[in-house]
Structure formats: structure tokens, C-alpha cells
Symmetry: C2
Subunit: 460 residues, 2 copies
């Protein structure tokens, strides 16, 4: 049985050794998008496989059409323990512009800022530092009574360049990778002291609509008034997609949209989140979404309809009296809860059709339709993880949403049927993808211990 | 006193000589847009000046910054006769693509098509053939008792390349060019047998509107729902510019829009104009303007609001989840009757302002604002000219509108305060600006005689 307190103590005691191991990994230039670093990617995979084998996992490097995967398995001390699949990625972003780095991005160092120690290196936060929190937690537990859960680890080497090998790898190895839940560490804390679990990711429907009228561009003097104008038709139809309260008018659009559970709603209300500052940072001030919803709700928990592009007619300098033959727009929908992407697509297309005059044509191109992912709020695993993080950090765990998507979460759901607990210890200001990327030592040390408590809680 | 019947007879008798003079003018390669033909333009001006001096005008070639003008004056036999200013242009379009011409565009010839003789050459219709109808009419009258009206002739050499010297020339010579009415021959007959006077030209207001929101493009996942989207704001505001009946919703937009006089309305209703064929020619079928208005009304007599261009966000292939920082549109209004361009601009801008959320900005660029030009339907001069044309052609004169503008008409109004009678004898199928341009000999012969009758009628 896992000796939790011994494991936690050993993590504190051996922090420098853990940092030394992280530094070894950070020194490997595993930039996945640049073929020049192909061997470095393979080296990082091998390093991880070796390290995991060294602490008792059965690990191997698994080739793909791109950079290799690392897969590792370890059994819990107790046979009927739950089984978790931990996902992380060992590849990193390119370092350009190199001249903005204060020191070599692949020569990690500890700097102290306002008394807080930070690991500065490319990948320190995204995602080598984060994934090593889990590896170190496993190391400590395996040295102190064993793991409380069966653990499968999957490290990918193509996250920063599109994860093109991942879906097939998941499909081909579904049996080997099966688990009760996935743990994904590619996310942030609420702030440096407050842990967070990302439980909601909005889905995305992306449609392109083309309105066609005359067979050629027309002169607006000769034909203006009598000939259908695709820009007019398109803008009128798009203009009806929202009502005066910012709600989307499509039939059935809000079907499946769940209200937040009372405790989450209360937590969000109490969060020190400054909506005005969030919008003010980009020069705005008035929340543009549904009236009566907070900014956090609007970006995390409410569905949207947005036009991402529009074009038609003459767009150069000055004037041209043309009635164009066509106009088009890109329209996307962020989905939440149980909204059905196919129904949203159908409702949008029906709306456009209904708003097109008889002699115009409308054509659609789909650029994707994926549902929202929401961890069931009542899930016992979520409740256990929340408690474990609170025990570690001494602060209530914030359940957050993400307005955008995290592709791996969708793949894990689609290919393996797995829900994901998104628990990460990065901070908003870690400068991931930017020069001078850093990871707080508090994130690293607290993260390691968090995983000990989370795995123990999940097994309870 | 003019001997009208002698003049008409002499025009019939001397048709071949008149055609021979037209051929001389057509042989001069007065392509105004190409500097290689600068001397040819000067030569055409000189030829016209010489010809006019030869028949009794006081004519001269007048230099400008571009190609020269020709100005000629001749007095009526009767001192208190009305004074007309006749406008035409001696310059022609380039002849490209030359390989599509069946014969040399500057070697005019007569061809017979289905028994109808045509003059084929560049400029035969636009505008040398047309302007020579007036010169020949004057020649015949001056040889037969004199002119019934005082006549000033203005021939321009830059109509096909933007008339850049014209406004200043009109301004600088306003006193010399003053008259009671202008006669402009750059228009068509209704058909080969039916004369027409163009009495209505729509005005044009052309606005560009830019909606700005955030200080930079935003990620639609992170900000979507909370951040104002300029495309959404713009399309919504543009979508409100028309009501369900196709009427423009701007406050005061229809102020000054006159209904057609009953006789013109009745004439248009009776015209063999096939609105379905007009729209069918460009792949359309349903008139898009105000409900209850015919296609002719929609394009000639009713004001419009059209979007000529729109652009914002991502318009390339595929999807990009962006909320753009700005979106813009070009919006134009065709004006009729007494609509005030300044009021339309103000009303449009007020509409856009009223539909922009508090934290968006809207900016406007004006690309022009000019009023409609309508010859007063009750004008005795119009009535006289209608009658004169009917007497010549044996068919009721059609009073037509033009959906677009004819710049010279605006300049004559603006600079000289002159209304214009737009009377021309070209046909829709004259292939002006195209290879194998032609002018029907019936247009030429009937046009000459029409002018005799029109001048006589105006003086009555």
C-alpha cells in the first residue's frame, strides 16, 4: 500500500534531484516542427522511456509515421485499483526569436524573481516540467509502497506540430491504452496558490457559406435595385443570427445547453476575475455575449455564434460601383454541454436557406463539427481530485472552463471513450511558446505532491 | 428663317456626302487614352473646327492640359431665339483586341446586315457618328435659311479617359458657354424605330464604413462570446438597411423622391420591356428592389442602397478561429429626384452609429456624393423635343431613365447650371467600346433630321 506521507516527504527531500532530472530532459532540443531536430525528439522519447523503466514501469519507445510515442505501464499494489491514463508531450515549440532569450533556451537555469524560484528553458512549462511532475510522483510512490492506481503513461512528440500521428496510434492501441479516466496536465492553475481543474471545453462547428446571385458581377447603376445583391442578402441573414439580447436565434440552438451547477456558479461568482480588465486588455469594455451572463460564463459556459471572416465585391481602395456575383462568410459556433454539432449545422443551414431570395443560391462548406467536452460535474472522480488538490494547496479547487478546444481531449474521448481530468500547474504568465519560458518551482514541487494525493484519492 | 422642309430634303439628298465627311473623321485615330495618338486627337479637333468654320460657325481649337476642346458659335437668324449648347466628344476608345475586328477599325466601311446599312469603324457610334448628326443638321439649316436657335458647340477629346480637363474648362469659360439648355447626344434610342430622351440620371452617394473593436485580432475560443465582433456588428447594421419589402429603412431616405408623372408611368407600363429577360440575362429572376415596383422603376426611378464590397477577418482557404479587430464595407446609394446627398450621408452614418455597441468605433470615408439629375417633366423644352422626335420617327418618344450617371451631365449642371436634353440615336447593339463598333445608317440619317426638327421645335 502506498505510504503517502513518506512519498510526499521524499519529494520534498529530493527536489534538487528531481530538478536535475528535469534539466536533463530540458537540454534535449526536441523541437518537433523542425526536421533538423528529429534525432533530438527521438532522444527525448528514449530518455523518458529509460527513466520510466528505471523506476519500475514497463516502458517502450513506439515508432509512428512522425515522432515516436512513449508508452509505459505500471500496476498498482492493489489489483482492483482504478486505472488512469496519463498524457503529456515531450516535444517543444521552436525558440525563435532567439535574440529575445536572456540565456540559451536549452541550457536550463534557476532564476529567482521576487523570492520565487523559476526554471527558465524552452519546454520548462509546456510540457516537460508539467509531465515530470507526474513522473516524479510515480517515482516517489513506487519507492514508498507502490502506486495506488494502475498507471499507463502516454507521451507524445507531435503536440506542437498538429498531433498528426495521435488518432491512429490511439485507435491502433486502444486495447493497450484503455483506462478508467485520462489525466492531462497541459493546463494552468487558477493562480500561483490556487489549483484548478479544467472541466469544460467548448466544442466547435465551423461553417463557410457562399451566397451566389447573378452569373457575373454587375454594374450597380444599370442593375442596382433590380438585381439581387449577395452582400446584402448575406449580411441580412447573418444579422439575424443574434437577437437584441445577444442570444443566438437559430431554432433549437440552446437545446442541450446546461446551466452551471449551483456550486460552480457560486464559485465563479466569487472568483477574483475582473471581466472589465480582461476586455480592457484588448481595448474593449462591454461584454458582447448574452445579456445577464458574466464574462466568465460567456467565454467558458455559453455557446456562441461568431463570424470569423466575410468577403464580397470590391475591397480595394476607393469606390467601384459593382454588384458582386457572390459573397461568402465563415461562421463558427462554440458549443457547450450536450449541444449536438450536427443539429447546429442543420439549423444554421436552414436559417441561411430561409433567408435567401428564391433566385439566389447558397452553398456550404463544413470546416469541422465537434461537440463540447464536459466532465460530469457529479463525477466522483472529479470530486476526489478536487479534494486532493485542496489538501495539497490549502485553497478551494477552481473548476474552470476553456473557451477553445484542446485537441487531445477530443481524441481521447473519440478514440478511447475516455473522460479527462485536466489538471495542470502552469501559470498564465509562464510565457509558453515565447522567449524566456519559465515554470515556477512551486508549480513543479506542488505539482508532484498533488499527483500523489490525486492518485491516492482516485483509488480511495 | 429656317426652311425646315428644305433642310430635311437636303439631308436626304446629300446623305452620301455626309457619310463621306463622317468617314474622314472616323479615319483619324483619336484614341485619347494612349499618348501615341496625341497628334491624332489634335488632328480630329482641327478637322472639326475647320468643318464648322466652313459652314459658318466661328470655331476654334482650344488647348487644355490634355487633349484640346473645340468650341464653335453660330447665331440664329432671329436674335431672341433660345440658345443651345451641344456637347459631343471626338475621342474614341482603343481598338484592342484588334484581331477581333473584321476590318481595319480606322478604315470605315458600309456593311449591309439584313437589309440595314451600318457604318463600321471605331467611333462610328461613340461618339463621332452621333456628334456629326448635329453638325450635319446645322449644315443643312445654315444653307437653308439659317439656324432656329443660337448654337454653341463643345467637343471634348477626353471623354474616354476621364474628362479630366473638362470641369476646369467649363468653369474658365462659363460665360462663353452659357446657354438655355444643353443637348447631349451620347445616348441610345429605345429601339431602331423608337426615339428616346433620357430625362433621369440617378445620383450616387458612395460611403465606406469601418467598424473597429479590439485593438488586435482575437482568438475566438478565448474571447468568443465576450468580445465584440466587428463582422457581427457590421453585418447586423447593414442587415437593417432594408425592410422586408425591399425599402431602405434610413430615416428620411425617401424625402424628395418623386413619383413618376402619370403619363411617364403609363408609357413605361406599356413599353415592351421584359423585366424577366433583363434579369434572366444575368441568371436572376426575382426583382430585388421595392415590392410593387417594376424592374424599370427599380433601375431608373427608385433610389437604392447597395453594398458594393465587404471584408473582414479570415478570407482564405479553410478555417481560422479569429475575431478580427475590424471589418469594413462599401455602401452606395443611387439617388433620384430631389434626394439630398448630404442628408443621405448623414442618415446612413447616424444609422451605423446607432447600431454600433458602445465600445466599438465606426469610421467613415466618403467616396463621393452627387444628386440625381432629373429634367423637369413639365419642362416645355422637353415637351417640344418629344414632339419633334415623334414627328421624325412616327413613334411616341420614350422618356427613359438611366440607373447610372453620365458625368458630363453633372458637370454641365454643376459648372454651368444647365439642364441637359439627352437625345441620341445609338442602339443597344452598336458594340461601343468593342470590336466591330457600328452605327446604323438609319440612326445617322434619322438623327440628322431629328436635330433639325428639335432645334426648330425648341425655337417655336
Amino acid at each position: 500500500m502506498t505510504n503517502v506521507s513518506a512519498a510526499l516527504t521524499s519529494l520534498d527531500t529530493n527536489l534538487d534531484a528531481a530538478l536535475a532530472r528535469l534539466f536533463e530532459l530540458l537540454k534535449i532540443k526536441s523541437v518537433s516542427t523542425d526536421p533538423a531536430f528529429k534525432d533530438d525528439c527521438a532522444k527525448a522519447a528514449q530518455w523518458l522511456s529509460d527513466d520510466l523503466n528505471g523506476i519500475g514501469f514497463k516502458a517502450s519507445v513506439r515508432p509512428t509515421a512522425g515522432h515516436p510515442m512513449v508508452v509505459a505501464h505500471a500496476k498498482a499494489a492493489r489489483e482492483n485499483a482504478p486505472h488512469v491514463l496519463f498524457y503529456g508531450h515531450y516535444d517543444v515549440q521552436p525558440v525563435d526569436p532567439l535574440n529575445l532569450w536572456e540565456t540559451d533556451p536549452f541550457n536550463p537555469r534557476i532564476v529567482e524573481v521576487n523570492g520565487a524560484k523559476q526554471v527558465v528553458a524552452r519546454g520548462s512549462s509546456d510540457d516537460k516540467g508539467q509531465l515530470m511532475t507526474f513522473v516524479e510522483a510515480c517515482r516517489a510512490m513506487m519507492a514508498n509502497g507502490g502506486l495506488p492506481c494502475h498507471v499507463t503513461i502516454l507521451f507524445e512528440g507531435e503536440e506542437e506540430c498538429g498531433s498528426s500521428s495521435l488518432p491512429k496510434f490511439l485507435r491502433d492501441n486502444a486495447e493497450e491504452l484503455k483506462a478508467d479516466i485520462a489525466l492531462v496536465c497541459d493546463t494552468n492553475m487558477w493562480d500561483a496558490k490556487t489549483p484548478a481543474i479544467t472541466a469544460m471545453l467548448r466544442g466547435l462547428v465551423f461553417e463557410e457559406v457562399v451566397v451566389k446571385a447573378a452569373t457575373r458581377d454587375l454594374h450597380s447603376g444599370l442593375f442596382g435595385g433590380a438585381a439581387a445583391n449577395p452582400i446584402r442578402v448575406l449580411s441580412r441573414a447573418l444579422g439575424k443570427l443574434h437577437d437584441d439580447d445577444g442570444r443566438v436565434t437559430l431554432a433549437g440552438f440552446y437545446d442541450g445547453v446546461a446551466e452551471l451547477p449551483a456550486d460552480i456558479a457560486a464559485q465563479w461568482k466569487a472568483l477574483p476575475f475582473d471581466g472589465a480588465a480582461f476586455l480592457g486588455g484588448v481595448g474593449l469594455s462591454v461584454p458582447a455575449g448574452e445579456k445577464g451572463r458574466s464574462v466568465l460564463e460567456q467565454i467558458w459556459a455559453r455557446p456562441t455564434c461568431e463570424m470569423n471572416g466575410i468577403v464580397g465585391g470590391y475591397t480595394g481602395e476607393g469606390a467601384k460601383t459593382v454588384l458582386p456575383a457572390q459573397a461568402s462568410a465563415k461562421v463558427s459556433f462554440r458549443l457547450v454541454s450536450q449541444q449536438d454539432p450536427a443539429k447546429v449545422v442543420a439549423s444554421f443551414r436552414a436559417h441561411m436557406q430561409a433567408n435567401i431570395p428564391a433566385d439566389c443560391k447558397v452553398e456550404f462548406v463544413s470546416h469541422g463539427a465537434s461537440p463540447a467536452i464536459t466532465l460530469p460535474f457529479e463525477s466522483p472522480l472529479l470530486t476526489k481530485a478536487r479534494g486532493a488538490l485542496e489538501a495539497q494547496w490549502g485553497e478551494e479547487t477552481v473548476i474552470v472552463g476553456s473557451g477553445g478546444s484542446i485537441p487531445i481531449i477530443g481524441e481521447l474521448k473519440r478514440e478511447l471513450g475516455l473522460d479527462s481530468l485536466m489538471i495542470g500547474f502552469a501559470l498564465e504568465n509562464d510565457k509558453i511558446h515565447s522567449p524566456n519560458e519559465k515554470y515556477e518551482v512551486t508549480s513543479f514541487a506542488g505539482g508532484m505532491k498533488s499527483w500523489v494525493r490525486v492518485l491516492e484519492a482516485l483509488a480511495a
